[in-house]
Amino acid sequence: MLATLFLATACVGIAQPEGWAGPTLADDRLVASIGRGELAAIEIEDSSGNVLWHFPPKDQKHPDGSKIDPEAIYSTPVVADGTVYFGAYEGWVYALDLETGDIRWQVETGGPIIGSAIVQDGMVYVGSDDGKLYAFDAETGDLQWLFKSGDSIWATPLVADGVVYAASMDKKAYALNAASGEEKWHFKAKAGLASTPVLADGTLLVGGLDSRIRALDAASGEEKWQFKADDWFWTQPLVLEDSVYAGCLDGKVYALDVNDGSPKWEQPFDTEAPVRAAPVLLDDVLLVVNRKGKLYGLDPQNGQLVWPLPIDLAKTVLSDPLAQGAMAYISAQGGDLFTVDKDGRAAPVVLTESGG
């Protein structure tokens, strides 16, 4: 009886958030997640990295004196004017000094932060699991406005031409005035929207948990077209000229015509494992990464393999790669960093401590 009980309970446990923050590059420094709830600034030299500082800092706390414990970091750091901005799963938004890692300001939201922050025109926009989109002053962290949606906001907002576009799990995509937070329009889908929207010539592209990617008129919110796959779209689509590339949790990568949503390839490329990471372009090679850490180099024109075989990182990869010309940085769960180039050569980044 006891043995069976143990067997039964062995199947349960709390799922721990791991985080899927992607790396970002600023002033020759890579700011990346190097472990669960841990961020670091890394000076990159060839395939080695010198860690300059860590987050959370040992000597700093929350304003109320409590210990900083990010739990996990899903928010890809954003760097603007020497400051690193990101949100943590514990619900706090941080602004760090890029040079030292010191906290410039920190503000608490009402829930875990899954999406990344966007910095534009002196404002920091970030969505939270409490269903609110926050706009903070980038310099001070003072709240400028907040917009309440009907459910969690897990997607990174998009800011363009004075408009903030936000996708929410309440099944709606919102267009808000970037200065005031006033709603301009909203579009209702059939399920929650978790993918970060992108803009292409007045067309807003957003994927959803109803297995559809939709093209909306950015000015009015009217639907132009939709494309249905076999599972959810959770990746940020990539727009190149008149094509949109989107990975899907059904394991496939789709290439669609941005004007009407018709398929551009003969058939979608099947990676055989869910794709959460956004596809990126390495010069002329489309890099696709699936959850199992398999990397594929594709020809964006026809979806055919450019590399004869996929590269297997043997790690879970859910974060967006960072493309830099002909190479990309990839952050795997657990904190391992890799580089891959357009010719299909991958290498781990070996980290050393500088004591900073």
Binding site: M1, L2, T4, L5, L7, A8, T9, C11, V12, G13, I14, A15, Q16, P17, E18, W20, A72, Y74, I114, D151, S152, W154, M169, K171, K190, A191, G192, L209, D210, S211, D230, D231, W232, W234, L249, P274, R276, R291, L318
Partner: protein, 301 residues
């Protein structure tokens, strides 16, 4: 593992989400309804388990007698097994239905863990298990808050742990058959406390959605025992009192059942009581409740 997921975990996961939609997105209520439905579905097995347990309970005086009669352990074992065989009672009969239910329980544990995992990674994992029906997809992400609990997190308030402890204890008291073997008695007594304590401890470690399931499953189990035994056979005062080591008759009394008619059973010859006490088949339940019919049958013979 794929087959296990395909046959057990995925259907349960989708059924839970459909129920969640039916009860307007209250996942706690969905878990409760699902638990009741599952217990009703497995009720034939549970009732068989209860009957087996009660039959064993009724045979205890005779078993005790056999143990006294035969000093040689091998012979004693043989005679005991022979007696069980002739009585049409399988001593493991109360375990088998429980074992049959375990795959469902474990699958339900898995499904709950997947659904109320609460982390973005677990939501991605959930997408791989959902049927591609719009009705199901629109439910994600699920509302994890129920009463004072976050169903994806352990309940640290101790309230749920206490409910699980109390309900497991009561169900244990009702379900454990009395025994004359001192070693089994001692084990039963230990288990009477160990099981509720362990489940209470697990409740503090796992998502509270599972704790809700355990508590509800126990409560439904107690209700089933109540109706299966008959209200007149359960003395709640004695059920709720702490157990102590005692002879079989007193044990039975403490768990809330009247003691078996030891004297009446002991008077019957070794070959005869088997048929007399526990006729096999559908009449067994009736005969156990109404001792007079047994007497009449004897007279007829």
């Amino acid at each position: 593992m794929v087959l296990w997921d395909l046959v057990f975990v995925n259907p349960i996961t989708n059924a839970l989400i459909i129920l969640n939609n039916i009860v307007l997105g209250n996942f706690g209520v969905a878990i409760i309804i699902f638990t009741i439905l599952m217990r009703l579905l497995t009720m034939p097995l549970t009732l068989r388990q209860i009957r087996s347990s009660r039959a064993l309970s009724a045979l205890q005086p005779k078993i005790q007698e056999l143990q006294k009669k035969y000093k040689d352990p091998k012979r004693r074992q043989e005679e005991t097994m022979k007696f069980y065989r002739e009585a049409g009672v399988n001593p493991l009969g109360c375990l088998l239905p429980m074992l049959v239910q375990f795959p469902i329980w474990i699958a339900l544990y898995n499904a709950l863990r997947i659904i109320v995992g609460g982390t973005p990674e677990s939501v991605i994992g959930l997408s791989q298990r959902l049927y591609p029906w719009g009705y199901i997809e629109q439910a994600v992400p699920l509302e994890n808050n129920f009463l004072w609990m976050d169903l994806g997190q352990p309940d640290t308030s101790l309230i749920l742990a206490f409910i699980v402890f109390a309900s497991t204890y009561v169900q244990q008291r009702l379900a454990t058959p009395p025994t004359t073997d001192p070693r089994t008695q001692s084990t039963n007594q230990m288990m009477m406390w160990m099981m509720p304590l362990m489940f209470a401890f697990f409740t503090l470690q796992v998502p509270s959605g599972l704790g809700v399931y355990w508590a509800m499953s126990n409560i439904v189990g107690v209700v089933m025992y109540y109706f299966a035994h008959g209200p007149e056979r359960i003395n709640w005062r004695t059920v709720l009192l702490p157990p102590s080591t005692a002879p079989a008759g007193k044990q039975a009394s403490r768990r809330g059942e009247p003691p078996p008619k030891e004297k009446e059973l002991a008077e019957q010859p070794a070959e005869e009581p088997v048929e007399a006490v526990l006729p096999t088949g559908s009449k067994r339940k009736k005969r156990l409740r109404h001792g007079r019919s047994r007497g009449k049958r004897k007279d007829r013979r």
